[in-house]
Amino acid sequence: MKLTGTEIDQRVRNGDIGIEPFDPGFVSSNSYDLRLAPTLEYYTQATLDARGHNPTAETTIPEEGFVLPAGTLWIGRSVERVTSPKFVQVLHAKSGIARLGLHVHITADLIAPGHDGHIEFHLAPTVDVRVYPNQPIAQLSFELPLGNVVTRDRSQTWSADRAAQANANRGEFTR
């Protein structure tokens, strides 16, 4: 079930949801607006490796804005730090941002309950688009899940060893 804006506001005030800083003016009917923090990350190598370390560098969006060229990839984050131990969070672009052809995530809009921190944006412009520091760029909706929430340890990252173990564990299966 999706939380209404009224419910989001109430849950922030009673501490069930943490949004820092919180501005009631950013609450809408079913979501809370997130702003783009001034620091952007970008990959410094031409090719990426899903199994390896992919180094990045940072740049700061100046007050007059920064053009993200079509077809490029940037990693940003929200100004806000969000804590939501009970509710699923779903990341959406603001509709005005979508109409500028700018993705704020790449097929990954689900954020599990228990997430505590800034929301990461995966910015993929379809056409050249100028972005500004601290501009509202995305919205976060909240959903009540079905069942108890148990937070899993995310410290274990995928590695070749795990892949080898996974392969060893897998037997033949029927198509």
Partner: protein, 168 residues
């Protein structure tokens, strides 16, 4: 409502959700990770009948580099299905961070479907992917109403399945 990890585990135990092969470590707070199958298909154009043509690729153990501007079909390693819950297949946040899309707006898995799921892969930067790597997550949603068996044509196959949209 989206099922939490314990609710998913309970559903697997009573047969309401099928994931084969199943890895306990893959269950997260609200989803189960799935992994990239070894078969890829790269779109190489269309034939005289405007049907897309594909080059078959087997991802070797040391990986295969996807290229921007190309369109690939892949598939989940796992067979995933449920007779009780609707499913939603999305990418992992760590994969989105690499600029890799895993589906094109068709994230809904119908209740009663059960097979390996085709993935639609495209990337912003060249990215090396590996067989059996975690690439996405499936979440399960409670239904409201009577469930009818899914009769879609794409539900009868596993692997990286091409479109049957224009087939009669």
């Amino acid at each position: 409502m989206t099922l939490t990890g314990p609710a998913i585990r309970d559903a697997i135990d009573r047969g309401a959700i099928t994931i084969t092969p199943f890895d306990e470590l893959a269950i997260g707070e609200i989803s189960v990770d799935f992994h990239l199958g070894r078969e890829l298909k790269r779109c190489i154009g269309t034939d005289g009948y405007n049907r897309h043509q594909f080059e078959a690729i087997v991802i070797p153990d040391d990986g295969y580099e996807l290229q921007p501007g190309e369109f690939y079909l892949g598939h989940t390693s796992e067979i995933i299905g449920s007779d009780m819950y609707a499913m939603r297949l999305t990418g992992k946040r760590s994969i989105g961070r690499l600029g890799l899309w895993i589906q094109i707006d068709a994230d809904l898995g119908h209740t009663t479907a059960c097979h390996q799921w085709t993935l639609e892969l495209r990337c912003l930067k060249p990215v090396r992917v590996y067989p059996e790597m975690p690439i996405g997550q499936v979440s399960f949603k409670a239904n409201l109403g009577t469930v009818l068996p899914y009769a879609g044509r794409h539900a009868k196959h596993s692997g990286a399945q091409e479109s049957l949209h224009f087939e009669r």
